[in-house]
Symmetry: C3
Subunit: 382 residues, 3 copies
Amino acid sequence: MEVATGTKCWDWTIPKEWNIKDAYIEDSTGNKIVDFKKSNLHILGYSTPINTTLTLKQLKEHLYSDPDRPDAIPYRVSYYKERWGFCLTHNQLLELKEGSYKVVIDSKLTNGSMTYAELVIPGESAEEVLLSTYICHPSMGNNELSGIVVTTFIAKWLQAKKNKKTYRILFVPETLGSICYMSHNIKEMQKNVIAGFNITCIGDDRIYSYIESRIKNTLADKVASHIIKNIGRKYKIYPFIKSGSDERQYCSPGANLPVVSLMRSKYDEYDEYHSSLDNLSTITESGLLGGYTFVKKCIQAVEVNETLKLTVMGTPQLGKRDLYPSIRKGRLDRWHRNMVDMITYMDGKNDLIDIANILKVDVGDLTEIVRILKSKDLLVRS
Amino acid sequence: MEVATGTKCWDWTIPKEWNIKDAYIEDSTGNKIVDFKKSNLHILGYSTPINTTLTLKQLKEHLYSDPDRPDAIPYRVSYYKERWGFCLTHNQLLELKEGSYKVVIDSKLTNGSMTYAELVIPGESAEEVLLSTYICHPSMGNNELSGIVVTTFIAKWLQAKKNKKTYRILFVPETLGSICYMSHNIKEMQKNVIAGFNITCIGDDRIYSYIESRIKNTLADKVASHIIKNIGRKYKIYPFIKSGSDERQYCSPGANLPVVSLMRSKYDEYDEYHSSLDNLSTITESGLLGGYTFVKKCIQAVEVNETLKLTVMGTPQLGKRDLYPSIRKGRLDRWHRNMVDMITYMDGKNDLIDIANILKVDVGDLTEIVRILKSKDLLVRS
Amino acid sequence: MEVATGTKCWDWTIPKEWNIKDAYIEDSTGNKIVDFKKSNLHILGYSTPINTTLTLKQLKEHLYSDPDRPDAIPYRVSYYKERWGFCLTHNQLLELKEGSYKVVIDSKLTNGSMTYAELVIPGESAEEVLLSTYICHPSMGNNELSGIVVTTFIAKWLQAKKNKKTYRILFVPETLGSICYMSHNIKEMQKNVIAGFNITCIGDDRIYSYIESRIKNTLADKVASHIIKNIGRKYKIYPFIKSGSDERQYCSPGANLPVVSLMRSKYDEYDEYHSSLDNLSTITESGLLGGYTFVKKCIQAVEVNETLKLTVMGTPQLGKRDLYPSIRKGRLDRWHRNMVDMITYMDGKNDLIDIANILKVDVGDLTEIVRILKSKDLLVRS
């Protein structure tokens, strides 16, 4: 989808489209010491065109580096104020010698459009799950490409099977993209979205994490909390406060959608964040697979979750249905124990995730038992 | 009461009645090596009749022992599948030699009835307290006889005095008995029972414990929690999950009665459980007395609990009623402090147990103060 | 205001008025060994007149001392039982020799009145804040004068500025004074008082503290809890239980006003309490200033607190209003971070204190941001 420059999106306006062909800094000996063709991070995002020669002092006003990570090219943009600049490592900055420097940026800021992609996969129900990732940090590994990769494979998986819920999958520029999308679709989203997952920073293999939604007691929170606690790996749950990615937009007071951010290492919290260090070596195969599995398990939990109740009064007699040992020797095995305990909470008030939390098991461990009890006509939807 | 074989009780059916006269295993030299007359635990409960001679290998398919407690005869039954068997210590099992064994079980499975006893002690109010214990584990000490003994003495105590509440006291076979009883009385029970106590495993002297009801915020839970915390001995509160005794039946979703299990050492949690070790040496005089006192205090708390409010605006002037020292020297003594603090919470919303919890005292410590304040016309029921 | 002897105040009656000119104990050599003119604490408050000569044994029945603080003259009264007595240090008591003692108390108990002062400072709104302190412990420093001083200066500060709320400020004898005042004004108070602060023991410099109201979830509690946690000094929050000052009267079940007690070292909890040690050396300039500031901040929090919501859908674009850095370098500074986070919670449900608690900042730190966002038309009252 293309949204034209100048389009109003709630409090925001789509800015000009920026395109760039080349950019470099040449020293007095004709060496390209900073070259956009070597790393697109060298250019301050959204830089206006320039072609001039400057003293080192003049040049330095347009250079951005990160003293805390002296070997990294920082990632910087200036969307809403027209200026130009270059980003470079702090070590390179320190080595620059007095002299004159030729500066060329071959870019254009013109009326154009903002681009985003939307995929809707219809399910049995009009109830929707929102999946969203962003597409505006070129060359960033964990804080960008991982989200696109995981969301793409999740979309393929969802397309290949029958789903109970409808899936609305968005690839949007961060902040402006989600605001723009909501400004056109908010009524429908508020009506249909029962849970949403913002997918970002999901490709490294250090930790699992999620950011709670603003109002916290949503289905998305319930699912993410349940899954992350059963993932068997180190995890961290971040409160909504200090959020900054698209969960902030989806949860903003007027929109108020039930959206959490699913992540491995959270933006702002890992060393390589927003610099040339966040490259393909930050994300790993197992990191991506873990992130993909985390998202998948959250979606499966939404799909299987339902509120059931017993069709009989009292405890059903499991023995006559061959679901109980005819002689008990000591404690029940785990499978029977889970079945007996599940039944106890099938009162039409607890959903399966509630029950899994009470039993301290993964909700996925209960689905086979549910299938069997349903096949014996012991359960109905509440 | 007798309930005939074949009677439907919700999802269950009363099985045949089992009676046994004798049972033994004789070795080839004519020695009775396992003899029902020495311990009724030697027979697998509900065994069908048999009279045959077997090889050791054939016999072993019908022998039950417990390798974890090699000197104990385990307690085993097979109510719902017809089979026969003997239980013996694991050490004896290991010593059995090759040879032929004569096996005799002189038992009958015939149409008959399930037996239970019910005692209703009417009180001033139709509001009922349910007391239930079970009668189906012959020769078990803590996990059976203790419950019967304590419940019997509680019944005697209740019969000898005037009570505010009505008491419904049941002696039933576990699971089937409580299900059967409820299947005939559930409407009345749901209408009248304000708190219920399943009394089991209440005769050893190691710990006090109770199992919370399924929905947890009942009067029975409130009382048990209050009393156990003020009992001044080691205690444990078990969540409803993994429950297995009749609290599971009374709290099952369709019945949903406000019932907790009061215990000393919980079933499944002490070494002698369900074996010949759980005999009269497991229960002690002080254990039984402690259990009896625990149940009694819970009942007394239900009896005295009420929600009161002050008849005057503001703090009543206690001095003019000789309820306050005319000169205060330092801090108030405990009794006056309790009275002053009680008054403060007599707002018609907190009941006496709430107030005792706030004051961190036993509700029994407040009853004398309540009596005095009532005699001064300072309190009315809310 | 004067309330005549004999006036009924709910459950209480205004007693006779007590006036005293002189009182002393003279030993047989004519030395005044205890002299009211040296310390008014030497007289048991409310003592009836006497002029007689006694043996030491007879005298001792009328002497009050505190063995735990042998150098302190204890503070004692006998309002509601007519008696006479002297207070002295325990060391002096121990040194008294056998002999005859002349005892003179030149006091009068006559029909008169109880005195209190009331100041109402009208604000924009009829909503009232109650401030109350007491005036019945002559010569007590922290447990009396500090409250009068701080409340007086708070009253001066409030009179010198425009206020949103109306302030009802009371100087009353403890217990009887507040009961008497409420007995005449309770309807109006229950209608208008949104928060109340009983101000006592607020002049030493050891700790900050407050006593929660009885029902705990009032605006007064919310404010006191927020302010004390941000005061940057050691603090203690006391539950309502065991309260004894006028918060007990204002919160009594029938009155049920939303009142907390603001204090430095709580009555009953510091060494000098209710004795000659609680003199001007217990209260300090910094202690009083801290107490004054604590009360002031609580009042300011009530004044600024409001519930606001955004006027735009989604996150407002702060950049175009010069409220956001045009290039972000690493994490946002604290001021911008607070603004962004505040906006996120401006949903018309959280008030400013709620938001300050979420952001873990003092509500005072948010008022400037609120002013700016309002000036940009981004906020309206909910």
